[in-house]
Symmetry: C2
Subunit: 475 residues, 2 copies
Amino acid sequence: MAELPDKRTAFIDWYLAVVEQANLSDKRYGVKGMNVWTPYGMRARRHLDRIMIREIEATGSQAVEFPALIPAPEFAKEKEHIKGFDAQVFWVTKGGLNDLDVPLVLRPTSETAIYPVFALWVRSHRDLPLNVYQIVNTFRYETKTTRPFVRVREIHFFEEHTCQVDEAAATERVRSNLAAFRKMAEAFGLPYLSLRRPDWDKFAGAHYSIAFDIPVGGARTLQIGSVHHYRDNFSKPYGIVYEAADGSQHHPHQTTFGLSERLLGAIVAVHGDAKGAVFPSTIAPYEIVLVPIPSPGDAGATGSLARSLASRLERAGRRAVLDDGDDRPGAKYYRWELAGVPLRLEVGRREAASGNVTAVDRLGRKTTIAIETLEAGVEERLTAFDRDLRAAADAAFRDAFRVASELGELAGSDRVRVVGWCGKEACGHAIETAIDGALLGVPEEGPPVAPGAPSKCIACGESTGVRWALAAQPL
Amino acid sequence: MAELPDKRTAFIDWYLAVVEQANLSDKRYGVKGMNVWTPYGMRARRHLDRIMIREIEATGSQAVEFPALIPAPEFAKEKEHIKGFDAQVFWVTKGGLNDLDVPLVLRPTSETAIYPVFALWVRSHRDLPLNVYQIVNTFRYETKTTRPFVRVREIHFFEEHTCQVDEAAATERVRSNLAAFRKMAEAFGLPYLSLRRPDWDKFAGAHYSIAFDIPVGGARTLQIGSVHHYRDNFSKPYGIVYEAADGSQHHPHQTTFGLSERLLGAIVAVHGDAKGAVFPSTIAPYEIVLVPIPSPGDAGATGSLARSLASRLERAGRRAVLDDGDDRPGAKYYRWELAGVPLRLEVGRREAASGNVTAVDRLGRKTTIAIETLEAGVEERLTAFDRDLRAAADAAFRDAFRVASELGELAGSDRVRVVGWCGKEACGHAIETAIDGALLGVPEEGPPVAPGAPSKCIACGESTGVRWALAAQPL
């Protein structure tokens, strides 16, 4: 395996090398940006999905699945939406040997697949709220450079779609989604910002959009999810109507909540280091790797012991993998560190004789665990590992932002910038030009740095209505 | 809700009515044969998938996921395969506003997506066996009448693909798949036949195909899965090669194992009755429904008790649903029977006062369960229910077949027919013509009826090399 590029100075190269060498994704498939989920990547994805499902179902959302193909006329019904997606969809035009009468769009997102059916499902106020989600693949004809997990043409996608009685109830659902995402991000060990996107950058057809962003080095950020309030922008053209208790007819207000495999890319990007990937135990494909250390005259005793300890951990509900291959221990350590396994147990003859194994966590800390109380020892090490991994991510997060008070500070910035913004679009674009990136928007829960209120807009100098906003170079 | 059609005399109408009224699938989507998975249908599917995953992973197979779109040149590499699928695939010809240079096929099955990558993954005998599976949607441009779960254009699909060192190892993998399916079918309560398909009916590109069929009334059968031995029919054109320990180069022999949402249709078809769907507890969306029986002066006491009992059952790992809506109890019984819930608990004031609830299983048997030992009582009722549901399915299965000894008996048969067959294709076609259906093939594990060996081929009268075979009208 080649040495990894430097994460700080060559972030993208480092990221691509880690994803490839840890065997999380295989990009050698015959269509650009459509990658193969390897067995190892799928194990991580399974836990990603499990956590998303757990948290969204805790808020009363139910799983559904709508078809992948959308008839062209349905796709075109909401005007802003079609404008936003027209240039980036795949079209199915032939079935068998014949041209289709009605061309079909391979879903880039599912509003236009779902809402004609919502119009059948929603009849009365008793049908509301309607909160459903699906985990499906979506398709975008990306013309930019593709990157595993981060920008792909077939996307492993989570999308919640809801109908609420009115605008206030929809706002409440947005809040509930933000709270659910907080719990998911907690499980992934990811600090992030919730930002209300400027109007010119909201989702096609939305009333407003709140996006989740993380810093990924320098002024760069990565959007890792979003929640949208649609008001009745879709329910009107799609004819979704309910009858209130008093017999009057109304369009419900709608929301959506979108996440994707990009979260897996974010976890690699945030936690990974010079040795490779680092997974929090919550989503690690394996939480523990056991490596027997053979010694002369050992006759396989450490191998059998390691195997029995792996079984014990599996029985205790842990995801453990035994590496009893022929490579020397050092090569195994290297490979499993690259793969990001949180905890390595080295089973050596001398330690075993004294009833112990050596434990090395992915932060490099070496301790000894008594075999007799193995399960408790592993539990304790993994808890400490997750806590300290999160603390390191939090520290890096805090260091990722700097307040800027002049537009001139934005060019070539080595941090994501916190700026005063008056809210005017012209000033927003001036900020975007200055940082050669985007105004990400106004933080929903306060800025990550900058105590006190901003004194003036960094672009026009205006002091009324000024709020903190984030300026960055989104990946 | 309308009365259900008669299952015996109007099977297809009965099936469609049950699927619709139990709200397992919504076929009102704007593309024929592409149906919506409702929340209730998704709950059943989740357990279907869970059981498939459990049994296939127990045999050492790992989850992967390959892209949905296949470049036309890869799709065309294996000649028999492309002939088999050419007329029934959807073609993606445009990306955004432009025609694609290379048209893409929306996978009808994934051999041609996976095998070019297997050619990269398989290098050495140490990479074998390679056993991977995926659960994805596949797409077929069906021109026949579509039916929810049974014949659809977007199919929830399970497919295992393997590479083995040689033909014998691939035969061994076929055996392992047959054993895994036996365990899955056990969980679904489904008796079935494993049949080696005649050569003219094997999978496009296979060396041989073994299919699983169930009788569904009269002479009708439904194929619910299949296992194929490919020999090196695909590994040669796709260039999958490994180096043996002695340095020589070989093509691996391959197998596949395919299942789909059709299993859910089969479960409805086999277990359902005049009142609607009937689910074994293993895959029931809910195992138990609790219905409070309000009485005058009750002040919601039965409702609260029912709620607390539902929580107790959930904590015990059961899937319980509380129906505390405004409908009268009779309407609720009707609806949950239609939905196929295995066990109903009626929480009435008088029974509750004496520490009991009334339990009625979906086979109509009424007993009393002491609240103090609710969990054990429910466990016992569900175990008995699953056992007796299976016994009823077994009895119906045994009654579904009849030996025929003359071709003349096949026309208008009210049973699936067991016939002597010499193995010649001409005789096979004569049998197919006589029954106006198909020769399903030779049973792998003996015929379901017919003691002893067959004396002669039903078509040519030849007595050498004659074996039992099944003749039916596949749905």
